[in-house]
Symmetry: C2
Subunit: 427 residues, 2 copies
Amino acid sequence: MWIDYSNCLKFVSEKEIAHGQKNAKTQLEHLLSGKGKGNDFLGWITLPEDSALLTARINKTAERLRSQAAISVVVGIGGSYLGSKAVIEALSDPFAKAQHQVLFAGHHLSESYHSKLISLLEGKAFNIIVISKSGTTTEPALAFRLLKDLLTENLGKNNISSHIVAITDSSRGALREMADREGYESYIIPDNIGGRYSVLTPVGLLPVATAGFNINSLIEGAAEIAAVTRDNNNPLTNPALSYAALRNILLQKGYSVEMLVNYEPGLHYLAEWWKQLFGESEGKDGKGIFPASASLTTDLHSLGQYIQDGQRFIFETVLSVNNTDEKVLIPFDQADTDKLNYIAGKSLSEVNKKAEEGTIMAHVDGGVPVIRIELRELKEHAIGELMYFFEISCAVSGYVLGVNPFDQPGVEAYKTNMFRLLGKEGY
Amino acid sequence: MWIDYSNCLKFVSEKEIAHGQKNAKTQLEHLLSGKGKGNDFLGWITLPEDSALLTARINKTAERLRSQAAISVVVGIGGSYLGSKAVIEALSDPFAKAQHQVLFAGHHLSESYHSKLISLLEGKAFNIIVISKSGTTTEPALAFRLLKDLLTENLGKNNISSHIVAITDSSRGALREMADREGYESYIIPDNIGGRYSVLTPVGLLPVATAGFNINSLIEGAAEIAAVTRDNNNPLTNPALSYAALRNILLQKGYSVEMLVNYEPGLHYLAEWWKQLFGESEGKDGKGIFPASASLTTDLHSLGQYIQDGQRFIFETVLSVNNTDEKVLIPFDQADTDKLNYIAGKSLSEVNKKAEEGTIMAHVDGGVPVIRIELRELKEHAIGELMYFFEISCAVSGYVLGVNPFDQPGVEAYKTNMFRLLGKEGY
């Protein structure tokens, strides 16, 4: 992957960028020194190396889950959900029935959704991958209760433990207690890794492997980009420093909204994962860029008008995928009533690329700075690169902004109110 | 449906609201007088009445499509896609295989997506509902070429016309020409209705009916809310005037981002439709509220931190659904390791409602004004109400803002660049 910021130069000078990159370099060193804010949550930095030691076991568990049922339900919320969902969606065929279906639950409280999921699973063997550090977070804990009951009904009390895998704290909490007592296979969420940085732990890797994708390649991609971002403090060759620098410069100039846009609809959930990563890391103390997203060219016929002509406080980060495996060529049509013969013989991807180029030009003309992040292809390796790139960029960017990018104090407020309204003891 | 703005009163005075409502009332009268900006695009105003005359024919076509194939592909982009997609998603079971599948194409240029769709359809009978005023918009025109070729391959040249329905201009354009020449059944997109206001024309209704949902009820809902919004200029009983007033007052006070949030994941695409409606109507002349969205409680563990503590320029509009058909009760658990017995016996919806209440309180405390829009249930009638409510609110809101809510001059910029890059004659 690479970053292209030539379409920012109308808005930010080379000198400002160089200065910002230098500052970002200092913050990267600060991060790696382990002396910055939130330094008890830096375990993610070495995950490309650490998780490489776990993949054999994870793949074995995944194989077991795949062989014993046709469906696995991942129970988790926030960082225990978005990372694996993002990878699985990016790699899946939206139309073909997967050989092994990975579904999600406990990431909200919709009765309609959970009722329909239960209908689907009634009478069937299925697996549960339950992910929670504490085991008492309301949404996943409720879903786990419901699904465990259903599994017991379907398989009998004595046959469910092999169908449940818990990913949780090493020694404390309700889920750890249940896993040890009931004999579930379990994986550890390290103490020093927060939810939104956990995609390369078993939290992200087990669901991805269970869906049938190559987690070794995902981790290799992360390791490769770690060499270029983490282990390289040269601003000219480290794309994370450029990205962290640029977004902070743009914020200072009044660009308060960043839109992550894709030209491949499979990247929708990657943007959702990115929103948590950046929104939760930087949105505090009244600060931070508001993270939004769009799928193009779809939304050029929707949000496109706003991006082009609305309030001028948006900048855009484009996820630009270079290669697709498929070849769909535009057919020639004798009548040419639709006037498309001028591009007959071209592939859809070629047209998509020209749409991307044309859109970037249009948006820059309209006053929108554009950063372009190039991905080689939509495969595990490139996605691993992209995710680690965003993680390290986010940590550095948060330090540049002056916040602790590893806490989320604002997430408790709604829970406290909800507990009180539900009559929970002590609230 | 009803609107509750009590959670704005910390940020906006009753007097400001009354003044804003009065202004909105004037703009509603201006809209209905037909003398405002963009007054050649007001056909949507009477759609609840006009479309009631079309439903018998639309339902008949839908029945024919459903009986002759298991899949229909809707080809369209922007307003020719988002309205029906929003309704179908809100009403569908995400897990059960639909009796008749409605898929979408031509709403972007992804080679990967279209290649996988073609693989799915290979050798099968399927229908195409192609929606385009001109028939030459690049994305849908390309998809239609590809799918028509595939259909010809699958069924033979002489058997495809009954599998294609065109929704297009009454007399002009490439798609009208093709429909007349090839003998496709066709429906008309009225000249005086823009794409984003077209959900209650055949553009939205035929796909929804083909998916098996009740368009009569959808239109009845729209008619019912039209009586309360369009035919009622009393600010105290017209929720559209309150919504249009509030969002403009909030914008003036620096709340530049509106987040439409739901507590039912099926409403995701309704938010996408809303983003087009408001973003494209108001995002011009450097003005307009930036429309964003979130699905809660999911995103409370993602964007929640930002909403609670980030830059203070967000207000929130909550889609609050009162009833769900399903009943999922939280089971009692002897061990209570997860500490959830305090809510055992409650339904998931009760907990979801408390989460909503608690979140609203938390966000208001954090400095986020909250508007709450109440829906009776997630059924056709209530969705029809909601959509017409948003349409009329948007038109009035655009007039309050001082823009033409019916044009979209900024959408051409990317197309012009793309055509030049693709070497189209005349660019």
